[in-house]
Symmetry: C2
Subunit: 187 residues, 2 copies
């Protein structure tokens, strides 16, 4: 197994592009080599098999859009939470390919138990990291705030990325602010 | 164009099965004929083209899982809204194929402008019907209640149908009840 980290990342990014453009069924080592512009056989030197490559793609998608706690500039807790949710929405909208690839992976997971197990672990950790992050950080609300916002943002992002016209006449930043305010417990 | 309504519906249901199993790329008139167990050429007699069939599939998916206002038995407005949301979740989980087919259609819509326009109209009407339904009916809350719940349920359903293990140790009916309570404005 070759371990040039930069080339490995470039191959995973190419796999994400292939997933978003051609779907999970179009994802072959050969298609990834072509997308990355490397000689045929390169991807198969870096990944044990197709499921290994899909697993790396799922992890990489989350890394690409991650919002770092250090990016928050608001001092009011509710304003800070709103800022994080808006940053997440914009980052995912700017990396549309990554999120659409994750959606292809979700659908492929309904047919492939091994991928389903891998993705379940990754997404479960993602949700739990959000819950822990609020408990340990400066963010307002309770566990329900986090879970409600997590799924409302998931639904909103699904709509905005696949059928943007449904919400075209709404101010998405304002809507995210409304979601945050309503998700907080009564005081 | 042939117009035997029962056969037409059977063909649309077969198309939904093909979408969920083989993805949008697998959807051909021939695959639908095979899935429906009818002679080759039948589907092409019922639908003008592939986009016409996809449009009918999108409409049919919503009809299959629709919750009728008459199904509500709770008299307390918040309990009634919770009952509707739980009915919706269970109906969609029981018709997993339909919702997964809709997800395939959403992804296909990112690549096909004509399908995107059709689906946008259908999903926009779906959201607006929810907003109108609350305004005109016995349901509690305000427009934000409806939109927040609509997207939180969308995200929850996406998770539950593609990666059920993420929420396996949570009581989904209880979570839906929590979502409803929190989505209502402070009183």
């Amino acid at each position: 197994m070759v371990t040039n980290p930069e080339r490995r990342t470039a191959l995973v990014d190419a796999a994400i592009d292939v997933l978003a453009t051609h779907g999970a069924r179009g994802l072959t080592f050969r298609a990834v080599d072509t997308e990355a512009g490397v000689p045929t056989g390169t991807a198969s030197n870096y990944f044990a098999n197709r499921d290994d490559l899909l697993r790396h793609a799922a992890e990489r998608i989350h890394v690409r859009v991650a919002v770092d706690a250090g990016e928050g500039t608001e001092s009011d807790p509710a304003a800070l939470l709103t800022q994080f949710m808006r940053l997440l929405l914009h980052r995912i909208a700017d990396d549309r390919t990554g999120w659409l690839a994750l959606l292809e992976l979700r659908l492929e997971a309904t047919r492939r138990p091994e991928l389903r197990a891998t993705l379940t672990t990754a997404l479960r950790e993602n949700l739990e990291a959000n819950v822990r992050g609020r408990r340990e950080g400066e963010l307002p609300g309770d566990d329900l705030t986090t879970v409600l916002l997590y799924y409302a943002m998931t639904g909103l992002i699904l709509e905005h990325l696949t059928l943007p016209g449904v919400l075209a006449d709404r101010d998405l930043d304002a809507l995210v602010g409304d979601f945050v305010r309503r998700s907080l417990p009564e005081t």
